[in-house]
């Protein structure tokens, strides 16, 4: 266990070496948050309810999305691509450690740092603009929120890592990742809650893994517990297991196929 803690610690230390790039990355997220805040406050300018959302619920949604994006979508698994292509992955393979535990240690450090920064950003927003926010009064929603959040983290992790493992075969991993990122920004709910979409589109999206990344946990936080959540939760669990199996298969075949060029 100590070794993984050490990796966690070193990943942390690396962030403080590249302060500038990290701060710029957070600045991008912060601008995003401010932009969405202004966008939605102007939409609510002369109406009380838009798409069944009151302003406090919608502002809470975009604040939650900022935090969720940091935890769920913030990732270091993209580095794996470069490690594979450069051959540096051999460093990890040659050591008596579990490759996946190493990745998870780095990932945790990354998520914690991103989470802390997004909290600061949200606090800045709250103190500067004093928006009304909505806190879920039903405490039964909280454990469900945490559960769906964990599922979201797992789904994002498995997809992103599988995409990185493509580099075992080809250097062209950029295109599939680009498609994935585009889909995430469109149908994961990072700009608006997905239930503003027409019902058939929304129901179709619930069959894909994307809504379960950031939208679904945030939705539970805002709308509370209801029986309509059962199916989506089952679907997200199926995706979680399926994507995990796919990731393992891709890994096992990839590592066999690997030729570690450039060494």
């Amino acid at each position: 266990m100590e070794k993984y803690l050490k990796i966690f610690q070193i990943t942390f230390a690396q962030y403080f070496v590249y302060r500038l790039s990290f701060i710029l990355w957070r600045a991008r997220n912060f601008f995003n948050l401010i932009f969405l805040y202004f966008l939605w406050t102007s939409v609510f300018h002369n109406q009380k309810i838009v798409f069944n959302y009151t302003i406090d619920k919608l502002i809470t949604y975009i604040i939650l999305i900022n935090i969720m994006t940091a935890i769920v979508l913030g990732t270091r698994t993209t580095d794996v691509t470069e490690d594979i292509l450069s051959g540096n992955i051999a460093n990890d393979l040659l050591k008596p450690m579990s490759f996946f535990k190493v990745i998870i240690s780095r990932e945790s450090a990354d998520k914690i740092i991103n989470f802390l920064f997004s909290l600061v950003e949200v606090l800045v927003l709250l103190t500067v603009f004093h928006p009304k926010v909505f806190l879920q009064p039903d405490f039964a929603a909280y454990p469900l929120f945490i559960l769906t959040l964990i599922i979201g983290i797992a789904i994002s992790f498995f997809i992103s890592l599988s995409l990185s493992f493509i580099s075992f075969w080809s250097a062209e991993t950029w295109a599939p990742r680009f498609i994935y990122m585009t889909l995430v920004s469109l149908v994961a709910g990072t700009f608006f809650p997905l239930d503003v979409l027409p019902k058939p589109v929304y129901n179709f999206l619930l069959l894909t893994p994307f809504p379960y990344l950031v939208y679904f946990p945030s939705k539970i936080f805002i709308s509370g517990v209801s029986s309509s959540l059962i199916w989506p939760i089952i679907i997200s669990l199926i995706w979680c297991i399926l994507l995990y199996r796919i990731m393992l298969i891709v890994w096992k075949n990839g590592i066999r196929n690997y030729s570690a060029y450039g060494r």
Partner: protein
């Protein structure tokens, strides 16, 4: 002597895409070429041996080391290292080996080497006292106490290579793979590393497999060499045997006092370069005595040296002769 490494009929085939020039075809029906990196090779390496792996670029040296350390899967053959199948990557196996690459960095680029050492300590579960002792020892041997607290990215290549070696040896591996450890280093740094490897092996009795393009490295370190070309072993044995088998000539260098006399005449099959005052002869070993006797009788000189053929020349000869045999279709 216990066998640390047993390799039997090892074959490795790489599949590489070939570009046909037609992008559509390349995309939808990509053609692949099978290239044989290792062709049915077998060898054994015992405890406390230091073996030099020699061969031109692309001969299969690094592929062999990568398979022995478990990074790559073999296409065929039976490999046992310390009783394990390397590609299983069992922690008990990985705990006993180390792989140092001259061209790649294993340390954390942004942080001081000491942080990487500490990580290595926890990865291999070494107790602090042992760890301190090993690091102090190695730092002293390699003379690098002054810069282990600097971020790795600020180190020179020679300094980096030294801390790289320390980092790989903290867990006292039984088998050490060294892939071009002196590549790109100046003569001083090279000597430091080579002396260190020699001393380390004597002190800790580990098995070392080394590749290098500098024949002096191999000559100074390895008693046994394995020569690979085109994925095949073309020589495996003592370096001295290699020289006696393939090097039939010696070079005689003479510094003359006077111009060569008219009547001076050597047998026709002796290659001779004459540029007053030096006279250079390539003489077959069995003829040395008679030639020297003749020289002493016929000419006056103030210096004479007799040298073995440089090892590079010997190896070059072996490669060319194996190339000629190779011309038959595969």
């Amino acid at each position: 002597m216990t066998k640390m490494i047993k390799v039997q009929n090892l074959t490795k085939i790489y599949r590489t895409p070939i570009k046909s020039g037609n992008p559509l075809r390349d995309f939808f029906a990509r053609q692949y070429k099978q290239s044989i990196a290792l062709d049915n090779i077998s060898f054994k390496i015992g405890e406390n041996e230091l073996v030099g792996l020699i061969g031109p670029n692309g001969a299969g040296k690094t592929t062999t080391m990568k398979i022995l350390s478990g990074i790559l899967y073999p296409t065929g053959g039976d490999i046992k290292v310390l009783g394990y199948t390397p590609s299983d990557k069992k922690p008990e196996f990985l705990r006993q080996i180390a792989f140092v690459m001259g061209q790649k960095n294993q340390l954390v680029w942004e942080l001081p080497a000491t942080d990487a050492f500490e990580l290595t300590r926890t990865v291999y579960g070494i107790d602090k006292k042992h760890f301190r002792q090993t690091v102090d020892n190695l730092c002293e041997l390699l003379n690098c106490s002054s810069f282990i607290n600097q971020p790795v990215k600020t180190l020179s290549l020679g300094q980096r290579m030294r801390v790289e070696l320390i980092n790989s040896l903290i867990h006292r591996p039984k088998i050490l793979f060294l892939d071009e450890p002196t590549i790109g280093l100046d003569i001083f740094a090279q000597t430091t590393i080579i002396n260190f490897i020699k001393e380390y092996q004597e002190r800790y009795q580990s098995t070392i497999i080394l590749t290098s393009h500098y024949m002096q490295d191999v000559q100074r370190l390895a008693k046994r060499v394995i020569i690979i070309n085109h994925g095949r072993i073309i020589f495996d044995g003592q370096l001295t045997r290699l020289i006696s088998k393939y090097s039939q000539e010696k070079t005689v260098n003479i510094i003359l006092n006077h111009l060569l006399p008219e009547k001076f005449h050597l047998p026709d099959d002796i290659k001779c370069q004459y540029d007053f005052p030096t006279l250079k002869l390539n003489v077959r070993k069995e003829d040395i005595a008679s030639i020297l006797a003749y020289l002493l009788k016929e000419i006056e000189f103030n210096d004479v040296t007799i040298e073995d053929e440089p090892i590079e020349e010997v190896i070059k000869k072996i490669f060319t002769s194996s190339q000629n045999k190779e011309s038959r279709p595969k």
